[in-house]
């Protein structure tokens, strides 16, 4: 899908330029944007290094684990089919916490572990269980506390206040996570009403 969009944008652009006499602009844009992309990535190093460094301290101090334990009662309610104290819950919570702090790389392995456990609970079937759909819904709308990458891009482009979008991001992601859970519940309700609970 991404492949298709990526190629389409370039090809449509080039063909469009053929008929609209904008080939010069296209030429210039290719080299300028490639250079810009590298500049942005380099510019991100500062924030990423600082943030991930800080998060390592939090991790070694057991702060993330502590947060997980704190969130567990809520999470247990979101996944009624998972027995309490099942390892799946632990992974789900760690995944959510990592996402909250913008640690995508740490979140992914936890998420995969969580899915593995959920699959075991579902008798190793290759069908997505109710809990899996819920987990996915929460994950895609994940509550975000610190969007570190976005802040670094805003910094690069000379924002007067790079962090000013933290509040809006937090509110938007919280509301949409609640919404995602409701949407998930709605579809579950529809499935069970039709009969054939799964």
């Amino acid at each position: 899908m991404v492949n298709l969009i990526w190629v389409a944008m370039a090809i449509i652009g080039i063909v469009f330029a053929m008929f609209h006499g904008t080939m010069n602009e296209v030429n210039e844009a290719i080299f300028k944007s490639a250079k810009e992309a590298v500049t942005i990535a380099i510019g991100m190093i500062s924030i990423l290094v600082f943030w991930l460094g800080l998060m390592r301290i939090a991790e070694e101090a057991g702060l993330l684990e502590r947060l997980s334990r704190f969130c567990k009662p809520l999470v247990r309610r979101l996944f009624p089919e998972v027995p309490p104290n099942h390892p799946a819950l632990g992974y789900i919570v760690s995944n959510m916490i990592a996402n909250m702090f913008g640690l995508g790389n740490a979140a992914t392995p936890m998420g995969i572990k969580a899915m593995e456990e959920l699959k075991k609970l579902n008798g190793h079937k290759d069908v997505a269980s109710r809990s899996m759909v819920t987990f996915l819904a929460i994950n895609t709308s994940s509550i975000t506390l610190i969007p570190a990458t976005v802040i670094s891009i805003r910094m690069t482009y000379g924002s007067a206040s790079p962090g000013e979008i933290i509040g809006t991001t937090l509110v938007a992601s919280t509301i949409s996570t609640i919404g995602a859970v409701l949407i998930d519940r709605y579809y579950y309700w529809k499935r069970t009403r039709k009969g054939g609970k799964r």
Binding site: M1, M44, I112, I146, R198
Partner: protein, 177 residues
């Protein structure tokens, strides 16, 4: 709404102070841990380069040729009717499909319209507040071999749409147009 702005300015410094204090109390070798974790940041930034180069070049060809403006004019009546800025519609569409592609597009919007413009703030909020549904779906379900996704895709995409709408209203409410 100043409350949201206060959170924005206080959250990072307070979080930093808290983590440093907590680490010290728990006798973590704070500085060494920081350096270890920081190394990972360099790796991530470098591994992002090809994604960004690829996406930014493709987008910029599309824009410089005039095709983007052409498409924008097509979307504009619909976006206007919904009260959305047409410039962010492509971002909203690609955010569901690829995170790094969206990151490229967000960067492009911020560079073109400025980080403190309405579009810049909206793009920042959209980028920060959703995960890439298709990525999560392919990676998580792929890794454990789930073939029948059930309602997962539908729920994920609906949640994304909701998230864009919410982002739009929050940014409008807090910063104005």
């Amino acid at each position: 709404m100043t409350f949201i702005q206060i959170i924005s300015t206080w959250l990072i410094p307070v979080t930093i102070a808290f983590i440093l204090l907590y680490g010290t109390i728990k006798k973590v070798p704070t500085y060494e841990a920081f350096v270890e974790g920081g190394k990972e940041g360099i790796q991530i930034a470098f591994s992002l380069i090809p994604y960004l180069v690829g996406m930014l070049v493709s987008i910029s060809i599309f824009r410089a040729s005039g095709a983007l403006d052409y498409m924008m004019n097509g979307i504009k009546p619909l976006a206007d009717a919904l009260g959305l800025p047409a410039e962010v519609v492509p971002l909203a569409m690609i955010r569901t499909i690829s995170g790094t592609a969206a990151l490229g597009m967000t960067t492009d919007l911020i560079a073109t319209y400025g980080p403190d413009s309405f579009i810049g703030r909206l793009a920042s909020t959209i980028q920060g507040s959703t995960e890439t549904t298709l990525y999560v779906l392919t990676v998580y379900f792929g890794a454990v071999g789930i073939k029948k996704m059930g309602d997962a895709l539908k729920v994920g995409i609906l949640a994304d749409i909701l998230s864009f709408i919410v982002s739009f209203f929050i940014v409008l409410l807090v910063f104005g147009k």
